[in-house]
Subunit: 206 residues, 2 copies
DNA sequence: TTGATGTTGTTATAAAATTAACATGCATGA
DNA sequence: TCATGCATGTTAATTTTATAACAACATCAA
């Protein structure tokens, strides 16, 4: 079964909402509740759920627990991943301090930089290693996701290094479009685009 | 003219790429170059550009400068905005330290929190004010965008306070769906969804 | 000059995504 | 018991989005 991109892009939204409702003690949630909370239609949600699988349901709606477990399976949250972060600038160290994803099993296990003055120092209790030791550390710590928080001009070479290891997913924060082979997943993320979208909406929704 | 959501959602991508190319000295970029760099088709890009306006073009492609200026106008980057951040936890202070959007004219002018022990202290050289003083400060500093980096349970009440001021755009980092009137723009952003999307792709693209 | 190549702008076509509609079933309360 | 309301799951229709196709024009090299 091939899941359309428009559908899978909503899975994280569902996951966030279902976690919240389950934490608040709700045992059941209906497609209508979710629709109004998330700004979608119940029809869209019910169709999306057909791709997720057999969620336990009743005349009250879907079981929050069953829903969450299936989402965790399909999103790979059930197993989590070890991650390597490269580039300890302001953005990199901000992510190291924040780590809101750690509770879901996505753990930064190693930190790298090129700058000699940073190597050996500690950021958020983690030692900074030279980029040259990435291959070794990635193997030793069983890392599968690389986080790029470098300046844009070195991002591609870091990505190339990552691709040459066992890393199979790159979370790229550098404002730079990277080229990676098709057996490596790439997710570009940047705060600015969403701020600009907000700015656009403010101009047009008024 | 009404711009479809699928189109306007690509404007920030175009803007990022055009800025990069202009900085690198490129005077012209073609729809084909952009398409291969951004993973789109040239057809899509040419159609999107019809919504942006009359970009200066030649047989080499579009003028990077003209393209950038029109994008800045349509995205509201030309004027920028003053912002207020509420919630100086790990995420809030990470954003205060990072501020990659400052160069584009989006400037955090005031910082708020509820916790007594934080009020009056300084984070990244900015004094933390009590939430009760938000209305006053927003007016005084001509703030139009509110940034919510609080825990989810208080996010709605902060949003309500913001709505009661002259703030017309809310950049929400709390994992919580907020209700705001239609004359206020809302953009939800969170790092986890994009990490989960990456995890999903890793499972499925292999 | 002339042909080949590459560009935009526009129209037409195809594909994808969303929404609506409805059959069916289960609680609930009169 | 029986009607009512709300739920899912599924199919159909609609809307939106993306792609393809092509006319018109500019550049460059031979």
């Amino acid at each position: 079964m091939d899941i359309p991109a428009a559908v899978s892009s909503r899975f994280p939204m569902y996951y966030e909402y279902v976690c919240l409702m389950e934490e608040q003690g709700s045992e059941w949630i209906s497609s209508n509740m979710m629709a109004s909370a998330l700004g979608l239609t119940s029809s869209t949600i019910r169709q999306d759920i057909q791709y997720i699988g057999r969620i336990r349901s009743s005349s009250f709606g879907y079981s929050t627990n069953s829903f969450r477990l299936l989402l965790e399976a399909i999103l790979g949250i059930a197993v989590g991943a070890n991650m390597a972060l490269v580039g300890v600038g302001s953005l990199g160290s901000a992510i190291l301090r924040y780590q809101g994803f750690r509770a879901k099993g996505f753990i930064i296990k190693a930190v790298f930089d090129k700058r000699k003055d940073l190597i050996g120092s500690r950021v958020n209790k983690m030692e900074v290693y030279p980029v040259g030791r990435m291959a070794e550390m990635v193997k030793r710590k069983n890392i599968t996701i690389g986080v790029i928080t470098t300046p844009p001009d070195v991002a591609q070479s870091i990505a190339d290094t990552m691709v040459s290891t066992q890393i199979r997913g790159i979370w790229n924060f550098a404002p730079m479009s990277l080229r990676v082979p098709s057996n490596v997943a790439l997710e570009n993320v940047s705060l600015c685009p969403s701020l600009f979208s907000l700015s656009f909406d403010m101009k047009n929704l008024k």
